[in-house]
Amino acid sequence: MTDRYQTFTRTPLGQTLVKNLGLPDPTPLQRWVEGSPVIDGPVVFGAIGETDAGKAIQALLRDIGASFSTATEGVASIGIRPKALVFDATGAATTAELTSLQRFFSPVIRQLAAAGRVIVVGRTPELATSTEQHVAQRALEGFTRSLGKEVKRGATVNLVYVAPDAHEQLDSTLRFFLSPKSAYVDGQVARIGTGPLVSNDPTKPLAGRAALVTGAARGIGASIAETLARDGATIIGVDVPQNADPLRKVMTRLGGSELLLDVTAVDAPQRIAAHAQEQHGGLDIVVHNAGITRDKRLANMRTDAWDAVLDVNLRAPERITHHLLDSKALKDGGSIIGVSSMAGIAGNNGQTNYATSKAGVIGLIQALAPKLAERNIRINAVAPGFIETEMTAKIPFTIREVGRRINSLQQGGLPIDVAETIAWFADPASAGVTGNVVRVCGQSMLGA
């Protein structure tokens, strides 16, 4: 699906019109290409005092070969265009120290390169040791969410809350937010807790892992399968028999195995578990991507439309998750990823059934995350906003145009953006990442 408006804004005439009329000016986002570095420009690092998190961040920047300079304030004089600004705010023990945010960012924010990254790292407020620290850390969210709306040209701003003693878990998350893999993740908050240290090859983080992807035949599901396979995983692609042909094409390319079934079938959980154990010796990653919409206002909602959406989007992931956990088909240390939706957070006219199911997915993540911690199984969800797919291509023109533009990046995301976020959750090195619901929405104004 091409965004014709965006293409037009790249022409000389388009540029003139956009400038003079103050029209949306969506910068084409940069996506990660295999083999390219995590970040392809200089990084400026700032901090409030010296902290463990700050040391971990700088170690990572050295690790990925980023050229970076440290500054506490006033970096404008450096005379470079930073690709990323990373600020360690974990040292903020009182609100007085928040002034450092303004001192660090104001002089340099205008210098941020196109498709730049702003990452603020804070301390998980709920785990603060004092009221003052809790307040100061909670304040960061207002800062990043506002700055996300201010930065231009495809830049994103995200906040990473790290629990005390979890600074060693920052690695995979910072890699994700620094790189073009997080192109459409903007204005989000990720929370990192403690977990076992996993060191793996960052270029093939999923090597030797088996990943189940439901709804893998097309759209976002196919992109998820491809991305996880790119990262080294063996894919088990699940889809309904109606999609046998496209599923075969995807799976032939990726070399995984295919499983044709309706996830709502009474024996679907058992069938998936049996297939995974027989053919792959169990599962490491489960992505509940299969989903449907049957939009109608509640007054006109038919029982079967309500039931079908709840069955596919919520009951199936619930039943499959429970069975995979009970049967141990999902190995300890594994990762479960749900697909929620912006509608599940913000609600949407004509989508009571869909939003109910997608909010339920968030409930599943939040309920299970603490329970699964002892098995080191992580459970997270992505909540896509407007993603350009065959499904959104069918939305009427005006509604589609509005849906695309009402976010900080002024454009729709791509299936790969959702897939990359899922790959970050799936990465065993993200051992401290659980219970997160991260939106892939370009910082949509809906339900922000």
């Binding site: 028999p241 109606q242 046998a244 044709l260 079934l261 709502t264 079938a265 079967d304």
Partner: protein
């Protein structure tokens, strides 16, 4: 209530099945059912006699045939005092008719009865569309000429487009073949396995003709002596060359060779008590001992349209105290080769049997050499309501010829239904 009586299958007769729009293209359902019924009457020596009841049906039926079976009886060699009624349970019609007659015999309500079925895919009931039908009905209601003209003015060019019955499920819009193709994919049924089943069907039916097995089961009609669809010279190579007709792309496996074609034909079966048969110098070929129906919710896609027999059979086995392996013959109607193979695979699958059927252990494998030993619908064709009668008569004869034994009948039907039964001797 009196004790139930044994229900004997005494004789059967059908006309050869013809391919759609071929030999029987101008024959009506009534013509064909009358021919099959008269052949049975002749064979059993029932000319001019009254039997307890004639129960039969057709799936595709003209509105004017609302009392078809009674009309057929009136035009047949049976006594005009023989009662009759029509039934319809899609492809299960023929077997359900036999079950109904059998039940009346078992309960002592009748001593003998005839079950049957007929269908034509050629002489299909083409109807005017709903709009024109409403106009014509309103025209009939109009009292004055100006009113009639006003009504007639509502006729539109599109009204010439008639409504033709489709071989599609009303609730999904998908044809039966499309549904079966989905089930085939779910169960991983290969093209090769389907072609092999189709090949065996043709070979077995051809052999049954060669050894004269069909001689007293069939009365030639309109010059046709054998089933028109039968290809005795078919081969796996020929079947492998056919292009797929259901499903899409490289995952499609179903061809015209491993799916039943649309056909025309009729069949009848005579059932009675032992005593009634003996009095007329007839003898029981086998006994109808158990039957069962089941239905599945295929609309939401949680179960395949044609998988209901997979549910009906275990329920019947439980009631009869039998296992799936306690049979000498299996007659599984070949709506599509994939339907038969999906059903067999489901019965072997521990997950299906536990989660969907609620059984502790799978039903298990059957001996494939006992399956459709005299051919089935892939070779003979499948005039919907006529298939049950064909199978009951042929299985009864096979059991008799074998000197006894037990046979299982399984028939899938539109609407996600299944009708199954047991014959024993």
């Amino acid at each position: 209530m009196t004790e139930t009586r044994k229900v004997a299958v005494v004789a059967g007769n059908r006309i050869p099945f013809a391919r759609q729009d071929k030999t029987y293209r101008h024959s009506s359902n009534s013509d064909m059912l009358t021919a099959a019924l008269n052949g049975l009457v002749d064979r059993a020596g029932l000319g001019g006699q009254e039997v307890g009841e004639v129960v039969a049906g057709a799936v595709l039926k003209h509105a004017r045939d609302w009392n078809m079976v009674r009309e057929v009886v009136l035009g047949s060699k049976l006594a005009a005092t023989t009662p009759a009624f029509d039934i319809q349970q899609a492809c299960g019609t023929g077997l359900e008719a036999a079950i109904l007659v059998g039940n009346k015999i078992a309960l002592g309500q009748i001593d003998a009865g005839i079950a049957g079925g007929v269908d034509t895919a050629s002489d299909a009931p083409v109807a005017v569309n709903d709009h024109l039908r409403n106009v014509l009905l309103d025209l009939n209601r109009a009292k004055t000429y100006p009113d009639r003209l006003k009504v007639l003015a509502r006729v539109r060019p599109k009204d010439v487009v008639p409504e033709i019955p489709r071989n599609a499920e009303p609730r999904t819009g998908k044809s039966m073949g499309d549904h079966a193709a989905l089930t085939a994919l779910e169960w991983g049924i290969t093209r090769e396995a389907q072609d092999e089943l189709a090949y065996n069907s043709h070979i077995n039916l051809a052999k049954s003709y060669d050894r004269g097995f069909q001689n007293d089961l069939i009365t030639p009609y309109l010059g046709l002596e054998k089933d028109q669809n039968l290809r005795p010279d078919t081969s796996l190579e020929k079947l492998a060359q056919l292009r797929t007709v259901y499903g899409k792309g490289e995952t499609a496996t179903m061809t015209a060779g491993n799916s039943t074609p649309l056909t025309d034909g009729a069949s009848t079966v005579l059932l009675s008590t032992d005593e009634w048969a003996r009095e007329r110098g007839l003898r029981p070929l086998a006994y109808l001992t158990h039957s069962q129906t089941a239905a599945v919710d295929y609309v939401k896609g949680a179960e395949g349209l044609l998988m209901a027999p997979a549910y009906a059979v275990p329920r019947m086995l439980a009631r009869a105290g039998l296992t799936l392996q306690d049979f000498d013959y299996y007659e599984i109607h070949e709506a599509f080769a994939s339907q038969v193979l999906s059903t067999l695979k489901a019965w072997e699958d521990p997950i299906f049997c536990k989660e969907r059927l609620g059984l502790d252990a799978p039903l298990g494998e059957i001996d494939r050499d006992k399956l459709n030993v005299n051919g089935s619908s892939l070779a003979a064709g499948h005039p919907f309501a006529a298939t049950g009668g064909r199978i009951v008569a042929a299985l009864a004869k096979q059991l008799d010829e074998n000197g006894g034994g037990r046979g299982l009948i399984s028939i899938c039907a539109a609407g996600g239904q299944g009708v199954v039964a047991i014959l024993e001797k």
